[in-house]
């Protein structure tokens, strides 16, 4: 009798699972898997309005070790190297440093390389049409925000390898704001020699995770009374900005898909104008709060950034 109940419960739970599956979500999970297991060498460009950034993206699985290298090819450049759970960033003008994390924070939202299931509360996954991208048959999957405070994200996947071919931040009028397009991809049996070489190199030791969370919490200094649903505070502190040495109270929020930074600083002299700046999907909203300046940066519509900035008040 017990065995029958067990088998029955298995069948029931399997059915429940089967009913829950969504082809769009399945495809995204397949892509996440492919990105972690395939050896590939790809080139892509990110188009933001009138500007364009070319990248090279190489990934390899050497034994049980995952190797990944992403580099920005124009301008001063930016190099990111991942060996399993350690990512090292090489930037112009600053020392290289490593972080303990299992994905590179590049132009592709990191959550796409993982379990996108955690986005289900605030985003819908919809299957779109088929097309030809980068010379390959592609299937469109749309990640649609359930409210108008965030952008939608469209992804075109290779129907054969499940790898990403194209992606775009799309606003609610259906206009693509920032597009990422692969221009070339080669999937190989053997890992690229250039990447295997990385294993022989030394990289800076990553900081332990708890060192990233600053003890000096400024969470009580300011009240941010409005954020879109799903955004949670990840960290808050007071620090100096790298480029201009200005002091700022800093808050980092995320809904699992996009990050939003809130900066509260002493006011700049003179006539300060409130307004939005955009580049691709990135919005910078500068708000004159009277005795302080609030700036909101993130891949959200300018209306959202404005609403967040204007909701900041001094905590009593």
């Amino acid at each position: 009798m017990k065995v029958i109940t067990f088998v029955l419960s298995l069948v029931v739970s399997f059915n429940a699972f089967a009913n829950d599956t969504n082809p769009a979500k399945d495809l995204l999970l397949k892509m996440a898997n492919a990105v972690h297991t395939r050896n590939f060498d790809a080139s892509f460009v990110v188009v933001k309005g009138k500007t364009m950034e070319p990248y090279r993206w190489v990934h390899a699985l050497q034994g049980d070790t995952e190797l990944e290298h992403l580099s920005l090819l124009n301008g001063a450049g930016l190099e990111m190297v991942r060996i399993d759970n350690q990512v090292t960033y090489f930037e112009p003008q600053s020392e290289p440093y490593s972080l303990k994390t299992d994905s590179i924070a590049g132009p592709i939202p990191e959550v796409l390389f993982k379990d996108i299931d955690r986005l289900s509360a605030h985003y819908d996954f919809v299957l779109g049409g088929k097309g030809r991208i980068a010379g390959r048959a592609a299937q469109l999957v749309r990640i649609e925000s359930k409210d108008e405070y965030k952008y939608n994200y469209w992804i075109w996947l290779d129907m054969e390898s499940s790898l990403l071919l194209k992606a775009a931040y799309v606003n609610h009028e259906g206009e693509a704001l920032e597009q990422l397009q692969l221009t070339h991809i080669s999937v190989t049996e053997q890992p690229a020699g250039m990447l295997v070489e990385v294993l022989n190199r030394n990289f800076p030791t990553p900081l332990p995770n708890n060192a990233l969370i600053n003890e000096d919490s400024t969470a009580t200094n300011w009240k941010i009374s409005w954020l879109p649903d799903g955004f949670e505070l990840l960290k808050s502190d007071r620090h100096k900005l790298d480029l201009n040495n200005e002091l700022t109270d800093y808050y980092l929020f995320s809904d699992g898909f996009v990050e939003v930074s809130v900066f509260i600083q002493r006011p700049l002299p003179g006539k300060r104008l409130s307004g939005a700046l955009t580049s691709g999907a990135t919005t910078v909203y500068v708000h004159n709060g009277g005795n302080f300046d609030v700036s909101v940066v993130g891949n959200v519509p300018s209306m959202t950034a404005k609403a967040i900035a204007e909701s900041v008040t001094r905590a009593l």
């Binding site: 990840l234 480029l243 990050e259 700036s295």
Partner: protein, 205 residues
Amino acid sequence: MTKAHLNKLDNEALSALLDGEQHLTDAKIAEQDVTTFGRYALIGDAMRAQKNNNDIHIDISDRVALALESEPVYADFSQSKTQPQAMTETVQDNKVVAFNWRKPVAQLAIAASVAMFAIVGVNTLPQSNNEQQSEIPLLQTTPLAGMASPVSYSSEPALENAEQGLRELQQQRIGALVLEHQRQARVANSLETAQTNTKASEEKN
């Protein structure tokens, strides 16, 4: 005939060539000193720009390339083991911190991503038919490549200078904010994982 006089005559020919008063032949260009050629082309551009209200194109790519050459190389994978010093140095330097905030102000050079946000003016005109959108004044931006002439807020020259300074301050700040956001977003993922883990363990208890 002195040598100086000869040069002057050469340049007259070049000037005529650039102004379209003389036909272009490969041999003619080859004769000319490259820097002189570039300078004359720029002068021509400037004069035509005044006439037609066009943009001037100043090519700084060679200077950028020069600056890049003097940049330290951190991880050059194309040359296997030929530059191991750079890598070992970073290991020995155990002061490598996740965020290097204590930087001298001297390093005000602006990163490529930051330059995209250079402000040239403030546009308060509605940017689209969408009513909600039109409420937001849009600060105009320009990519580094296509230089648009800066729009001044006032006609007073003295005020203009002060405003130029202010605009630079604001530009610097916005550049710093964008860079900082990019860097902070890198830790977001590990913080989030840590947060969900603590939540999960709390639920267990």
